[in-house]
Subunit: 402 residues, 2 copies
Amino acid sequence: MLKVLKFGGTSVGTLDRIQNVAEIIKKIKNDGHDVIAVVSAMSGETNKLIEYAHTFAKKPTSHELDMLLSSGERVTSALLSIALNEQGYIATSMSGREAGIVTDNSHTKARIEHIDTKNMTYAIKEGKVVIVAGFQGVTKDGRISTLGRGGSDLTAVAIAGAIKADVCEIYTDVDGIYTTDPRIEPKAKKLDMISYDEMLELASLGAKVLQNRSVEMAKKLNVNLVSRSSFTPEVEGTLITKEENIMEKPLVSGIALDRNQIRVGMYKVRDIPGIAATIFTALASADINVDMIVQTVAVDGRTDLDFTIPTDDLETCEGVMKIFEEDVENIDYNEDVCKVSVVGVGMKSHTGVAAKAFSAMAKENINIRIISTSEIKISMIISQKYAELAVRSLHDAYNLDK
Amino acid sequence: MLKVLKFGGTSVGTLDRIQNVAEIIKKIKNDGHDVIAVVSAMSGETNKLIEYAHTFAKKPTSHELDMLLSSGERVTSALLSIALNEQGYIATSMSGREAGIVTDNSHTKARIEHIDTKNMTYAIKEGKVVIVAGFQGVTKDGRISTLGRGGSDLTAVAIAGAIKADVCEIYTDVDGIYTTDPRIEPKAKKLDMISYDEMLELASLGAKVLQNRSVEMAKKLNVNLVSRSSFTPEVEGTLITKEENIMEKPLVSGIALDRNQIRVGMYKVRDIPGIAATIFTALASADINVDMIVQTVAVDGRTDLDFTIPTDDLETCEGVMKIFEEDVENIDYNEDVCKVSVVGVGMKSHTGVAAKAFSAMAKENINIRIISTSEIKISMIISQKYAELAVRSLHDAYNLDK
C-alpha cells in the first residue's frame, strides 16, 4: 500500500515526539508499505514566528509571512528525515515546492491548484520515505505560498489524491472520531467508520482533529481518510470514507454540540414579497454564515423570522440589521443558545429517527426553539444550560454506547 | 549606486537588531541608492538547529542538514522585509533559490557556480529593496544546498559580482580593519583602505570580520568590499579593493599575529635528492597546511628542516612523520611559538622594510626562529611569550599609530 501520513504540531512538538514519529514510520515501512509523510511545524513554532512578525507590523505583508511561516515545517521535515536516515531507512525531505505543490496567488491562504507528483513518485520508486514540509506550496510565479491554518492536512489529502494513495492517515493526539464529546458523555465510543457527509455534519466532534476543508477535499478526491493518534499508534483510528464503502450503516453515528451560536429573532417583519431573500442576501454579502432559519406564518401582513449565526458574527450582523430597521418591529439577539445535532446516514432510509430525538428532549423537559433537518441530520436549538443533558439523553436514546 | 549589504548573525541577533538593520537600509535608500541586503540567521539559531540534528544522528545526512539550516536565513529575510514594508518601503524577501543562486552538489559546503540575477534585477527596477536569505542556493537538480560557515558573506560577494554592484558592504560588530589587534596595541588605527592581497595576508586581523574565502572571491570578481559595523553605522568602514584603486600606498598596512602555529623541527634529515619534496607532498596529501619552511645547508649528507603547521594539525602531522622515521635523526614539535607578520603593498617598491622589522626585534632582544618574506609580507616565528611585545614594537617601528 502507498500511505500518506500526516503528523500535526503536537505529534512533532518535541525532539522526542519526532523520534516517536520516526518509530511509527519505521513500523509501517517494515510492514511493507510505501510512505509519504507530511509534517507540521513543531507546536509553538508558528505562533512564535507570527509573534516575531507582529513586533514589526500589525499586518505583515502576506508574501513575507509565507516566507517566514513556511520555515517551521521545513525544520521538522529535515529533522524527521535525519532521524530515519540514522536508523538505516532512506528518507528525503521535500519543501512544498520540491513536492510539486502549485497554488494560486492568495498568499497566506493559498489554494492548491495542482500537484506535480514527479519528484515524490521517483523517490518512492527508489524505496525512499518522502517527508514533505506541509502547509506550503509555490505560486505559478515561483514565490513561496502557504495554505493557512490546517494547511498541512490539506497538503496530505491533496497529495494522497494526486498520487492515488491507498489511505491518508491524519495523526493527532486524539485516537479517532467519537459518537460524541467524551468530556460530556464518558460512555462515548470511538467509531470505526463514518462517511464524509456525516463527518462534515459532525464537524464539532472532529474540530480538533479534522478540519472541514480537509474532509471536503478528501470527499472530492475520494481519499480514504483515517483519524488516529501518534500517541497511541497501536489503536486503529476512524476511517472516513464514502458512504458506499460502509457496509453496515448505523441509524445514527453521533451527537454533535455547537455552542458557538447566536439566535437572532426578527419580530413582525413586514411581509412583502422577497423580504426574506433581501435580508439573507444582505447577511451573505457580509460573509455571515446563517445556519438555521425558521419563518412563522404571516399574521396581519407581518411575519417572524428566527435564525442562528456564529457568535463571532454578532457585531457584523447588528450592522447589517440597521438596513432593515424600518421593516421590523423588534430584533433580539440571544447568546444563551446552543445547537445539538443527531447525525447518521441511516436516517435516510428509516423513519422515526427525528421523533425519537424530540421525545428524548421532551422527557427531560428541554424546550426546542428551532428545529431543522436534512437527509442525514436533525439539529435543534436549545438553551445553553441544557447542552450536556441533551447530548447525554440523545446519546442514550440511540444506544450509541452499545 | 547599487549596494549589496550583508548583515551577519549578531547584526540580526534580536528583533531590535533587525529593526536597527531596517533603519540602516532606510537611510541608504533615502540617500538614493538601490539595495540588495543579504542576511544571516539570527545568532544562535543555526547552532540550535545543528544541536537538534545531533540529537538524532552523530553525522546527519547532508541534504537534510541543508534543508534544516537554510530555514534560519529565510526567517530573518522575511522579518526584515516585514519591518521595511511596514515603514512604507517596498521590500521583498528571496530564498537562495529565488535569488537565482545555483551551486554544485556538495551539500553543506556547496560552491556557487552561477547566479541568475533576473529576479533581483527585476525587483530592483521596480524600486524594491531585495532581502536575500544568505548561505544557501539550489543545486542543478533543484535540491536546497548551503555554502558552509561564512556562506552569507560569499552570497553577498557573489551577488555583488554577478549584478555588478558598486560596493558590497559587510556589516558585523566591528567597524573595520585595524592596523593591528587593538586588544594588543590600543594605539591601533582603523584603515580607510587596504588591497585584497594585504587583507588576505592580514587574515588574522580580519578573521572575525571577513573570511579569506570571501576576500578571494571579491578579488576574483573585482568587488569593492567594505567592512563596517551595524552597531555604529555612522562610522565609515574599511574599503578592501584592488591595489590600483589605492592612491597613496602605505609602506606597511598592518601587523598580524597568529598564535595558531606549531614549529616542527626535523634534525639531520638524510639529504637525498627529492627528500623535501617527498615530505611536503606527504603532508599536503594529509591536508596539512604547511606554512613557513626553512632548510639549512647540508652537512655530512644531513640537513635540518624547520617548518610550521596549524596547531590543529599536530596529531595528523605526527602520523605522517612516522613514514620518515628512518630518514631523520630527531623530530621535535614546539607549540610555544607564534607568527608575527608585517604586511604592506608599499614594501614592493621600498627597500629596508625588512631590516626595520629585524632591528625592532633585536632592540627588544626577541630571537627570530624562522623568517619568510613575500612581495608584500615579512613573517617571523618567535617565542609565544614575546607575541604582544613584538606586535607593539613593530606597530611603533612603522609609525602605524600616525
